[in-house]
């Protein structure tokens, strides 16, 4: 039995069914990300002045990832246009670029995550706070790790500025790599140690929630596009119009993923 209205338009909606379906799904996605964005706004506005971390993310890398997603959005729409023109070869070419962009985005994001998992903040018992790197670049250390390893001190490479201090305008992540003179901090003087993980602060909790959820969308979208680029493209031979519609639907989802990042980038990296 054939699935109705995969190509033929319905009289009531004047659309094929999948198109109504994807827009309803995107509507629910707007609410999902909207809820998280509004949570972010509440947390951001509610933070006491000067306590919200700024300049801890790498703006050039974030901007580069934005451009990667924009390029992928263009190649998605160009691949759909190629199918409309009956050119499967060009479709495959453009979607290959899309998949490369998706892979690049996720790879860059994973490097960003890795950088955060090895970047630390130390709260000292005298009230002083500093961010930087622990000698050896360990992952996910915490105050408990110091106890478990029975360490009596750590060698710490502090950043030039702490994010709560007034710094020269927008020194950003680049400044983190200036002058890493190592200091030794006795464990007895450490009140808290945390990597830049969700447990570090509200900022990193919402940062990882939003970016990981977005990353999952990129991954899911890439899986669908990859399937339609490879084995799924067999449909082109038997039902080209239906295949073109599938590409349009996957493209709409991909554009939404790009659209979310367009807001995530300034909100998380710049504000």
């Amino acid at each position: 039995m054939d699935i109705p209205f995969t190509v033929k338009l319905r009289d009531d909606t004047t659309l094929y069914n999948a198109k109504v379906g994807i827009w309803l799904f995107l509507g629910s996605e707007v609410m999902l990300f909207g809820a998280l964005f509004s949570s972010y706004i509440l947390l951001r506005v509610g933070a006491p002045p000067g306590t919200w971390p700024r300049g801890l993310l790498n703006v050039p890398i974030g901007a580069f990832n934005t451009i990667v997603l924009i390029v992928s959005s263009v190649t998605v729409v160009m691949s759909w246009a190629s199918l409309k023109l009956g050119n499967l070869g060009k479709f495959r070419f453009y979607q290959a670029i899309t998949l490369l962009c998706a892979l690049s985005f996720l790879t860059i994001k994973s490097f960003e995550y890795r950088d955060k998992f090895t970047h630390y903040e130390v709260w000292k018992t005298d009230g002083a706070r500093m961010t930087g790197h622990v000698e050896g670049g360990p992952y996910f250390w915490s105050t408990q790790t110091l106890k478990d390893k029975k360490l009596d001190h750590i060698v710490f490479h502090p950043d030039p500025h702490h994010y709560t201090e007034p710094v020269k305008p927008h020194a950003g992540a680049a400044a983190e790599h200036e002058g890493h003179a190592a200091i030794t901090i006795p464990v007895a003087e450490i009140a808290r140690l945390s990597a830049f993980v969700p447990a570090h602060s509200t900022y990193f909790a919402i940062y990882f929630t939003l970016t990981a959820l977005h990353g999952l969308h990129v991954f899911g979208g890439a899986l669908v596009i990859g399937y339609l680029w490879g084995p799924g493209a067999k449909l082109w031979k038997t039902d080209p119009e239906r295949f073109t519609n599938r590409i349009e639907i996957s493209g709409l989802f991909w554009h939404f993923v790009d659209l979310v990042w367009i807001f995530l980038f300034p909100v998380l990296y710049l504000l």
């Binding site: 659309l15 509507g27 509440l42 506005v45 959005s73 409309k84 570090h200 509200t202 300034p266 504000l271």
Partner: protein, 118 residues
């Protein structure tokens, strides 16, 4: 949309939108590196640019500028509930003395600053 000339015209539009999105991204980063005295102004500019970029993606890449009525109805509902969600957020801010800027502090807001994790 099946007419090759029609599609070719759309391709030109897609490339122009692509250029506009790249320019928008460069502008967003430029706003960040150009230090504005007012943080609120910098935030407003960054969000306006993001909104313009998102409108271009939704309007041209997602074809919302020339869609069917059913899609517009779905989007109208989405917009209504999204605006409602954001309005609730702003409303909630007024419930909290700490967020609304009131000098009267709620009893739960007397936590020692040292214990606050931003």
């Amino acid at each position: 949309m099946n007419d090759p000339q029609h599609v070719a015209k759309h391709v030109k539009t897609y490339l122009m939108v692509f250029g506009a999105l790249i320019v928008g991204t460069i502008l967003t980063v430029a706003v960040y590196f150009k230090h504005f005295e007012s943080v609120a102004l910098a935030i407003a500019i960054a969000l306006i640019i993001a909104t313009v970029k998102a409108s271009l993606v939704a309007g041209f890449f997602m074809h919302l500028v020339s869609e069917r009525k059913t899609i517009y109805i779905i989007m109208a509902f989405t917009a209504f509930f999204f605006v409602g969600l954001m309005a609730l957020t702003i409303w909630a801010m007024n419930d909290s003395p700490a967020l609304s800027g009131s000098t009267q502090r709620a009893p739960h807001a007397t936590v020692a600053p040292a214990q606050h994790v931003p």
